[in-house]
Symmetry: C2
Amino acid sequence: MVANQHNLDVEAPDIVTSYGLADALAQHAAATPDRVATVCQDAAITWQGMDRRYDALAAELLHAGVGPGDRVLWWGQNCHRLLETLFAASRVGAVVCPVNWRLSRAELAFVLADCAPRVILWQESEIGDTVRAMRADGSGGDALWIQHDGTDAESYEARVERHTSPPERARPSSAEAPLLMLYTAAFDGRPNGALLSQRALLAQSMSLRLLESLDATVVYLNSGPMFHIGSLRRTIAVTHAGGRNVMCRRVKALELCQLIDQERCTHAFLQPPTMSQMVEANADRRFDLSSLRSGAGPPGWSDMVTVIDADHKVSSGYGQTEVAGVVTYRYPDAPSIGARPGPLARVEVHDPDGSPVAPGDLGEIVVRGPMVMNGYHDRDELNAYRSRGGWHHTGDLGRLEVDGSITFVAPLQRMIKSAAENIYPVEVESVLRRHPAIDDAAVLGVPDDLWGQRVKAVIVAAGKIDEEEVMAFCRTQLAGYKCPRLFEVVQSLPHNDVGLDRARVDALHGGGGYPGVAASTGEPAR
Amino acid sequence: MVANQHNLDVEAPDIVTSYGLADALAQHAAATPDRVATVCQDAAITWQGMDRRYDALAAELLHAGVGPGDRVLWWGQNCHRLLETLFAASRVGAVVCPVNWRLSRAELAFVLADCAPRVILWQESEIGDTVRAMRADGSGGDALWIQHDGTDAESYEARVERHTSPPERARPSSAEAPLLMLYTAAFDGRPNGALLSQRALLAQSMSLRLLESLDATVVYLNSGPMFHIGSLRRTIAVTHAGGRNVMCRRVKALELCQLIDQERCTHAFLQPPTMSQMVEANADRRFDLSSLRSGAGPPGWSDMVTVIDADHKVSSGYGQTEVAGVVTYRYPDAPSIGARPGPLARVEVHDPDGSPVAPGDLGEIVVRGPMVMNGYHDRDELNAYRSRGGWHHTGDLGRLEVDGSITFVAPLQRMIKSAAENIYPVEVESVLRRHPAIDDAAVLGVPDDLWGQRVKAVIVAAGKIDEEEVMAFCRTQLAGYKCPRLFEVVQSLPHNDVGLDRARVDALHGGGGYPGVAASTGEPAR
């Protein structure tokens, strides 16, 4: 039997210090077996029910030959079965990759090939045509395909129902091993799968529970996509705390109002436009949304929900997928210019040589702590680069404020080095764009024998450009060494899907000679 | 230079996911540099001051040749310098062992030899005579002795003052490495040094902060001994949260009242007799103790302090040094027979064969999670035994209640095996002692060819013993297989420092043939 290749008795040395999602589930199943853990469309699953179902799914995964490190891809929308898949994977040591089902076929094809899953859990509703077409084209290779919303003998539900008695008692898997894989933005056209351990997910959960007082009374409406850490970190924290997750496949204002009313949701993942739509959808007040605790919203919002005073609420600062969520926060009782690290995160702003910058200066935001990813799937060189010197390098530009707090500035773009000075194009561009005669601007470094590089601005003009006057304007906003010495006016700048196409700007306008980072390591020159 | 043998640039692979005490200190030094972190006798040290002082101490430890895994022994009472020593040790990867200064000389001699410290921080006040006498007898070997409360050129303060500029920026040490070593009770005459990592200490800290809402406003009076985890876990949680620690060398009611009044302490470690003494010491109400948040106390107590409603407070259940504190709690909003695991602890009750017991049954309490110790110092065999099967075996007897919660019963004594049944002497003895004709009782297993062992009771009688009647009494309280079949009446039972001397009872009364655990492993047969 294939399953024997990956039996559950492999014991990692750190098991005795491990605690994972399945442990939390076991606790809630013992303490509140009949309490509803998840609500999803017509299903309401208790903690005991989830405990049984994930056990059964783990047995199925084992039977399919899934073992430690193998990937299980979730190609569907928000669903309680994704949460069950996470639990099941934690039991067999596998890695769950929930893909963004909104991606283009080309993007999905890359992700499927890169992830190389052993099992694909897919959804018929809404996205079945795309799935079938890609499968017919060979995407997914020889993975076992399981329809999660099907009803036939090989569907998810049929497989879970097959196992009526719990499988043999298994050793837990290590909390240090990766459990979740989330593809991050493809600045250079190649997304990378960030591998997050249960240690990382639970460090974020503990921080969130501590700072936001999340407990077993929380009813969380999963109205954000579960393939994004922003929403999923809360799903996990609520599960960990023994609260209830209400699933919602996609964001429709009317449905959200119905669910909040019906399930008495206390928390939700909502963007301002959605909140406006909900005010409209509930104009006649037929839905009671008073259970929802929320910050301030658009006109009419505060009449419908219970508004939480923002002055007494910790709010999120900087985060990214690679740290499983958020690592800096704003603490209302200790105001600061930027945000400050959470209770388990060390956050600094570093020079390219790995030293902390001086207060007021810019540099790369770096992080240490249990929430840091294990690395990207199958990216050894990039992983070594991103974790150099014992710090996770976020690839994001930040400012160390004079009070020691930290402000996120922008994704870290290519850095210019002129003499000994570091110049971040994104900072200079933001100043140029504030000039009334400038519509758009790109800043690049051009090779220079004396200084290494010189700063050049390529400008899309809104009016007449007086170089001297623009330089003087820059000097009022920036240190002299950051100000462009060379100017070129163009009709338009080249862009790609995520912004300025810097490689093209360099090619067109003489850029080159960039220091360290982008030049020598294969790190995407964004 | 010796220090080069242990430079700080050794990088553990898990550094990027590590977060330790020094990281918390750095955060508070950045956020609230001028806020007082610790108060101790005449000293009030700010976060910035502590940051500088621990750096200087780390440099001293390095200079003394202290490197990863080396022990630094604290032979003193409660003091802010012990906290600084923990920070400094975390920086060089060393292990701090705060000894119980109340131990006898024989006990101290064992601990010093077993710990084999490279540096001993000692105290003149109150205990200097003992220290000097033992040092003269050769205790401590060739350790570097540093007086922490001295003023000469080689004292702690002089050494810390020597370093006015911060040492070279160092790599952090791994949060997985042991930082703290606490000797646990010597049931068999040999104490064992439990090694606790920063991971373990901070897992406890996060749990405590979450469940007790400890934040930066806490002012904690360290009125419990810092060489015990019960008090020290709170010292660490308060430090982690950015609160203030007020040190107190020993428990004197008047001084406690003064400190609470003067420092506006919000929390303290107090036992009921101390609370009564404080009511007396403050009979004239000259001290304002209203800042102290406390549970109910003796008569007069609630008039002096701010009493917290116990119905809304999570309270501690089961814990031990080896798990860095507490792992089960009582949650007021979810009442249960026993206590339930904390947010990062998996706790079960196991049979000797490693299976969970059925609800209502007794077994050994076992724990998994980040708070579990790395093991005992220099006890390889015992460590393998205590962590068998991927669970930390606490050596404590517990009951899995019918509602899935867990009750601590007693330290796990030798187990009797009769046929297939497990019988815990401590349980049977507690029943026997409730019989009116019985003053004291010891229960042992005697070898039996047919059953393996039979249950025997050795009784100190308070009146006339009718064996049949005692057996009938037992049957009303215990399953039949647990009831003694053999009886012997004696004048007295042999005891040692911590209770019944079971080895002696066996020797005197025919005990033997015990199964698994005690017989085969060298585990102390308590």
